[in-house]
Symmetry: C2
Subunit: 305 residues, 2 copies
């Protein structure tokens, strides 16, 4: 599980930061990549990475502001042009389907793969084979959603040493034991799975909190996340400005991470008013409250173990 930041700026692209997009690489888990937001030139940013557009099969949009969606028609078209055949589902607020369909239709774009849309709403739960995604409304002036991606717990591994001790040697019987509540092994007896498997592996949790004012209500999204990705458009001294424009500060992002007992925080969506040399200060503001914080730059990559 790897997070790649494709665009970490706010509102407009700058030379340093493109507009919003985050890739969640689940290649090991399920051979696919998910996108969160898709600002203009996301496909251009992807060209600089090893992400293959045809592997992207889900796109989650936080809200309809242009800096979060204007890259969608181009990304979807180029994915088709490059021979992507497997389906894509786009999740996002009302209006997203109309935006994409109008763009594709008027540009006479005919996709080589099925494209479907899911209109998200507050408190929705999206179920996939390996993940549950909880959707919650944020506070951004227009409909805007946070996504809490929860990996399903994995059953524990077979305790081979224990089985061997009981006289059960590796073979097809191991699969039987792992897949059933109990198995009767000739000459040995009834083996209960719970006795011969280790602890189930807790699924990882990643929370993506898009553009929003700070709110304690977002603890529900962030609670015990292994990784919280939170916007921090402004520095801590700009709390009024952040509030007025429905955004958050470095300090507020850190506060949510702390109050939600997150393991790690990454702040992104940095205003273009901040120069590269100010990144360190923004980061320190957050670390004062929540030490395990990083500030994302375009192409920053983080592994979640």
């Amino acid at each position: 599980m790897e997070v790649v930041f494709l665009g970490t700026g706010a509102g407009v692209p700058s030379k340093e930061r493109n507009v919003s997009a985050i890739a969640l690489s689940l290649l090991q888990e399920q051979n696919s990549v998910w996108l969160f937001d898709c600002g203009e030139a996301t496909q251009h940013q992807i060209l600089q990475t090893n992400i293959k557009p045809r592997k992207v099969n889900k796109i989650f949009i936080t809200h309809m502001h242009g800096d979060h969606i204007y890259g969608l028609p181009g990304f979807l078209s180029s994915r088709s042009f490059q021979g992507g055949n497997n389906p894509v589902t786009v999740y996002g607020p009302k209006g997203l389907k109309q935006y994409i369909e109008t763009s594709l239709t008027l540009s006479e774009t005919h996709l080589s793969y099925p494209l479907s849309f899911v209109e998200v709403t507050d408190q929705m739960i999206i179920e996939t084979e390996h993940f549950q995604i909880y959707v919650q409304s944020l506070d951004h002036g227009i409909p805007c959603f946070g996504y809490r991606v929860v990996e399903r717990d994995k059953p524990g591994e077979l305790l081979v040493h224990k089985l061997k001790k009981m006289g059960i040697e590796p073979g097809p019987i191991y699969k039987e034991i792992k897949e059933n509540e109990y198995v009767i092994v000739p000459d040995i007896g009834t083996i209960y799975r719970k006795d011969v498997v280790g602890e189930p592996k807790r699924g990882r949790i990643i929370s993506v909190i898009g553009d929003t004012r700070f709110s304690k209500l977002h603890r529900k999204l962030a609670n015990h996340a292994d990784l919280l990705i939170h916007e921090a458009t402004f520095g801590k001294d700009k709390q009024n400005l952040a509030h007025r424009y429905y955004h958050s500060t470095t300090l507020q992002a850190a506060q949510l991470a702390k109050e939600s007992n997150c393991k790690r925080l990454i702040i992104t969506h940095i205003s273009s008013r901040y120069q590269q040399k100010e990144n360190e200060q923004l980061l320190q503001e957050a670390r004062e409250i929540f030490p395990n914080t990083e500030l994302a730059n375009d192409f920053s990559k983080f592994t979640i173990t």
Copy 2:
């Protein structure tokens, strides 16, 4: 008058070439810049140049394919965000207005300047103070237009040495002479303007021929152009492919330049199948027919004197 190529690729962006956009800088002539096409990430390309988005007041779109229009919503939004106040007019085929308005409306974008639309049709003439723009249909499978930009002729300069010889010294009288057919100068007599001004300065002609199959009909657009910008998606050996996909070859672009007595040809819209090292060969193919040819790369700049 300067032409800056912002995107010179075909269909999809590559690491070498962005999708289509050309800036015609008329800063000296009228303190503005015009765009021809606006593929995705045109605003990103502009960030790498000295072009100011607020100076762009006309955008001409050749056709509705995504690689020619997907940068419009972002460019128009960012121009607003960066404080552009003066109006913009967008010229292009039917559907363009709906595309832009849908994108801006659904993304809740409120522009800081008036935006108007002109739906172009075959044989239309667009009149501006310093230019006439002739519009002609191309052959690209969907409605597609070429633009012939003709600078209005400028009246000749006053022949100062001649006036002085006649005993007329510089002063307000010079303006009188320049602005009237004749002026009666006390003690000297009737001065006819035609006798004391030089040759009128012929306006320059730039033809932008977007995606199209080759056609002799396009001579009307290209005729005696100081600069012909023509697509050359394919090399000369791919004429069948070019025909099938409604595109042109290097050789065909050169042929039109030659038959139309153009002064200079620039080929662009190069397929991503060609690597950088093949540029020289593509260029030579065109030069065999029309020696004064250049092949555009992203950020190539040409001055038209």
